[in-house]
Symmetry: D2
């Protein structure tokens, strides 16, 4: 008999995760907690850490010392040693598989990582007043992934408890915030037999009770880090001996924004971070810029990426500098399939607490669930990305963000209902 | 009877300072040690901290927390509480005055601050092998100011011990490395009755035994910090709402280097440090550039400074950003007077260990002793900046820099001899 | 009895205009020929030159000498002196009005100007082989406005010959190629009583026989000319005395392309022309850039325009230069109304030679018919911009462009039919 | 017996040249007139056009049509056909050789080309009031090369008439204004046996009666023309298909000015001319920048040139454009030898009308006499560049420039006297 969480259990679980926010590839405590829960369910497969991904495809992996720090922190917070052992080196996340006879293979994807944001300590911030504010100072679940992981567990329970027929997989994916984990999971092989994939996100400026059957308008994105290396020199005595890495970076920045707009659709470029140099009187030997390009389609993003690399390399050459460009995160564009949106819509109509159903809405941002969606769609399957409204006091990625926990139940009902319906239809 | 240090005393003193390197406006231990020594001499005046400067003219003053940190560190290292009390708020440095009857007023200026450089811990680095490596990790006397302070003390003793007639002042000036302290001291009033001013520097790529009677080629310099403030926005969803501080900084950098060369002589410009932004997907709200302009003359520096400010302000305006420009350090140009160079040359010929005497040499860098030199010269006095060679294993401002302590004696003999000669000539 | 042109007459008329291509505000021969034709029709109103426009709103008016040159050229080519007198100063174009009792006021707008392109003199270019190649070397009807004027005349004849009831106005608008004439005509007052406005364009990559009921996707556009004035100086002897207009222009160009993309839709920016300076060894005193910004909506264009002006002014300030920015052409965005598109579609179905009917298509460029469309729509009227396919051997704005003259008849039948239908419906 | 010109002849000759100013490689009339005069002298060698140069080393040669235009103009102005035949293709200039027994080989170099400046037609401009204003409208002898050629002829006569012993060569060099002719002449072979070379320039802000024995401070210079080729595209419809030559040029301009200053001495950079594009709505396919770099030494110029090429090529690469860089003019630095300066100084003391003798002065500009000077000095000879003051109402290279013709006599006396003295000393 599979353990089934009550809503109280789920809320406690969510708050535990909320207290222990962990950023990309460092979701040690989070994964250990999820795995502990999963082990009490009647599963046909449980995959942990490196088993759920193509380990060569991780992006933006922190350095060893950084990983080690978070590993130790998770241990001290009480994460199970045997699970931690499986996650060594920053291979986080988990996959639960349930096989229930004939029927389609349906997958659900939720993400589990947190953000480098310091959580509000004001009393009007519920996690603070209720005592589950982040214990990892400087980090915060400010985008609801704590709720996502919880919802994933709840849906699993609901599907197991139903008369679902087929195979059901729940991916607890790491490292979404930097769009650094989706590709590795998409290429794990675990998606290759999936007929239907559902992903979800809470909030997105939709209130509690509102469902978006299919979120669209994902901008394909590529994060880049360009590190320039020149030669230092005393700026007063021997300026001509310098190879000016700051100037190379500045030339790159200026010209990156000058990449031509494209008539096929929206594109974006941003150098969000820059830095360089050591002293006012030294020609800077090293500098970096970190940024992103986006496109309304994967092709548009690739156009931007190619042009960006040319600009960066030319800027380096202009000042006799070397440059290393690395891709720190990436996600394609994607669209939701009509059939799945139809079913989500129908099911939502019957879910208590749902007060508004939108066929679709534009995200205007990026997500690496798109890698998984594309993978499934390329192999003939269908996919949809569902929005589940939640009243959130502060905006996403702000220190006062929080989720209305009522949303957890609604999301479970809508998604589990849709999965059961899908399996039934197929049969 | 005035205490007079032996060479052993002086070397011990220098090594003590070397072990406690302190950067600009944080020379608490250093000043306390100097004052302790001075108090044992037969002085006619002793001025400490705020008494030696126009307190409004300090530049690049660190924030209170930073000053407090170093203040506590000095206390813990054993600095005298009563002296520390006089230095509160980061007013460091000291001035010793000796009055010995009729005669000219002669001043000596030495500087006392250290650099933010991590000292070598290799055994072939003498301070390491001899046990007086920096105890303030990350900071180091890598430009010989520990020796300068020591030489200042030695010269004072020698002058007191001689039949010098006149008034003699020794300035232990803080904050030279960022050319942030010279102006405040120059405008203290203590220079206004000075007939002759001598300053000195060890090393400068001259070997032990070589004397440069007058160093020339000071580039006037101005350090600037420009802080840009724009408006953040999500780079994917609402790029048009951003006011891009990184782009403003990049435009400033590119165009700063484009300031026209000047037909009157050498100019320089460098943006040594830059930084900005918080995340790849956020239009940067804040950025900064920190750099310097120089000129072969004070006028050329001012030309560069004025143009630089126009460029920076226009770059900010271009991207609807605000910008705050602050001057973090400044020094005019200066030249050494022939009469003083003559005397230093003559005296050097009779000093044991002097093997080579150069009339003059180009510094090719900046120094804020120039403020003091200009002050004296503007009022009809004479000034010279003397180079005292020392074998230094690593270059100035590198982690393996060290001074040949034999230099301390040579410098004292040359400078004290010149001061006595000057006083004698005048009489 | 109104004169009515045969198809042979119309083709001869079109070829005569083709032989005498004239650019913006210089359509002297063209206007005189049109007026000569109009005078033989039974009109209720004929307005010429300054009478059809708000004369203060002309943009990109050439200088007097240039206007005079073309004026003389028209005279020498045989244009009627009495008409030319009405056009003095570069006020070109004409408006024919027919009043036929009760009914709506319907307007047609065609444009009449040519381009600064040298026409092909190859034998496979029909105007060359048939002997009506441009006599104004360097200028060419390379966008079909010769056909537009002819079609306008043919529609007028057809409407007069029909049992049309209402008021019908045909605007022969000057200066469309630089979007410099539409605003002046739109603000003439002649549009203010118009219920329905139709405009048309041949070609646009649609073949003969294809009709586009309503062209959409007009990008709002603003052409700017920025003229920088600095100060000259000898680049070797006194570079610092220069105020470098070339550098100011270069900084403007770089940063114009860096204006942020907008999340509301497509934007464009281009500096198509630049120039500056007099000699390699002189700091440039004068320079200019000429370009355009566009937006999918008028608001987006205005966003780009405002940012562009800020960038240009800041670039000038950066180099102590002055700058004059002038708007050389401008057009808002617009959309076609469904009712008119419906009627054009219905009528087209019955027109001989029409083989394909598209509801709508994207222009992807700019047009100042939009000023007239907006004017009518703002006052409660309807407007549509119709595409009439024509086989054109070379692309628009190329030296081998030509129109299939069969298109003239099709266009007349479609448009005159639609106008009659509209009047009938209303009645 | 050699013809010897009177001062009246010389003045008439100078005014004839002044009336027929011809720019670089187009000095057809000028050369023909010089050759006509030389043929009446008792010469031992007369070389014309291609015979005086390494024809591969001409720089900035105009296109054939341009050369042809000036060739015809010279013919129409009455230039001798037989001489013109020798100059075909733009090989202008002449060399006269006199051999008078034993003695050193001494050379004189004068330049003969004019500038693209429109001469003043005001009555207070002497060439206008006296009737010898430029007949080649838009061109002018605004730097005194008409006087230089005349002085060369006068010196030749004076040397022939003296008891000079040795060999004497007078180079009438073309194309100095663009520093485009010196290299070709320097590498002709005719300099290779020269022991002493004298060059001269009138004016340079020195009044009539002032002699500068040796002008120094020549900045080495290199003129470049960079032509960018990208790809055109409609800026509204398909901006992404463009390769933006205007943007590439703007990036090049900005970064050229950013080339680092050099601690070895003065450098310069200027983009004096720029242009590009065809229409506001077309991404520019072609653009160009034309400029120069300079250095206080030839090495400094080369440093600038190398960096400039890197910047230009990188800017092109940044926008996927091609670029062709051509050197349009070039001159090294040079210095005058003491021995020659001594002799010029001594001789000047005895010349009537000389009222002031300066040992040396800084030019602050460029000259390609330096190629010839370097050539002679590299082979062990000596060289000097002499300044001969002249009252000039307007500055050099302005429309009101003129020379005080009294200078012609003074220059002949100083230079011929020096040449005789040199020959005598040697003997």
């Amino acid at each position: 008999m599979s353990h089934q969480a009550t809503m109280d259990d789920l809320i406690a679980f969510r708050r535990d995760l909320h207290e222990h926010p962990e950023p990309a590839w460092r979701e040690f405590y989070t994964t250990a907690r999820i795995v502990s829960e999963l082990e009490t369910r009647d599963l046909d497969g449980l995959y942990v850490g490196p088993e759920i991904m193509d380990t060569d495809e991780r992006m933006a992996v922190p350095d060893d010392a950084e990983i080690e720090t978070w590993f130790e922190r998770a241990r001290e917070a009480g994460a199970r040693e045997d699970v931690l052992d499986q996650l060594k080196g920053g291979y986080t996340g988990a996959l639960a598989v349930v096989e229930r006879g004939e029927g389609p293979t349906i997958a659900l994807r939720v993400d589990i990582d947190a953000l480098p944001i310091t959580e509000s300590d004001e009393d009007d911030h519920l996690p603070t007043s209720e005592g589950f504010r982040s214990q990892n100072e400087g980090f915060m679940h400010a985008c609801g992934h704590d709720a996502h992981a919880t919802i994933g567990l709840g849906i699993l329970d609901a599907v197991i408890a139903s008369d679902f027929s087929g195979t059901f997989k729940v991916f607890f994916q790491p490292s979404e915030e930097q769009v650094a984990g989706g590709k590795a999971v998409a290429e794990s092989g675990h998606l290759d037999d999936v007929d239907y994939l559902l992903a979800l996100h809470v909030g997105l400026d939709h209130p509690t009770g509102e469902i978006v059957c299919g979120v669209d308008g994902f901008l394909a994105v590529s994060h880049f880090l360009a590190e320039f290396t020149g030669a230092p020199a005393h700026a007063g005595a021997k300026p001509e001996e310098g190879k000016n890495a700051n100037l190379a970076a500045a030339a790159a920045i200026q010209n990156l924004y000058g990449i031509s707009r494209h008539s096929d659709g929206a594109t974006r470029v941003n150098v969000g971070l820059m830095g360089g140099g050591t002293a006012t009187n030294i020609i800077a030997e090293e500098s970096f810029i970190e940024g992103e390009v986006r496109g309304a389609t994967t092709e548009l993003m690739q156009y931007m990426e190619e042009r960006a690399h040319t600009v960066i390399e030319s800027a380096a050459a202009m000042y006799d500098c070397d440059v290393e460009i690395s891709v720190e995160g990436k996600a394609p564009s994607a669209r939701s399939d009509d059939l799945l949106m139809d079913i989500v819509g129908e099911v939502s109509e019957g879910v208590e607490g749902v007060t508004s159903i939108l066929r679709s809405d534009e995200l205007g941002g990026s997500e690496d669930a798109t890698y998984l969606m594309n993978r499934v769609q390329e192999q003939g399957g269908l996919a949809a990305y569902v929005g589940v409204g939640t009243d959130h006091p502060g905006g996403h990625h702000t220190r006062t963000f929080d989720v209305d926990e009522e949303t957890i139940r609604i999301a479970i009902d809508v998604m589990a209902g849709s999965i059961e319906q899908l399996a039934a239809k197929q049969a």
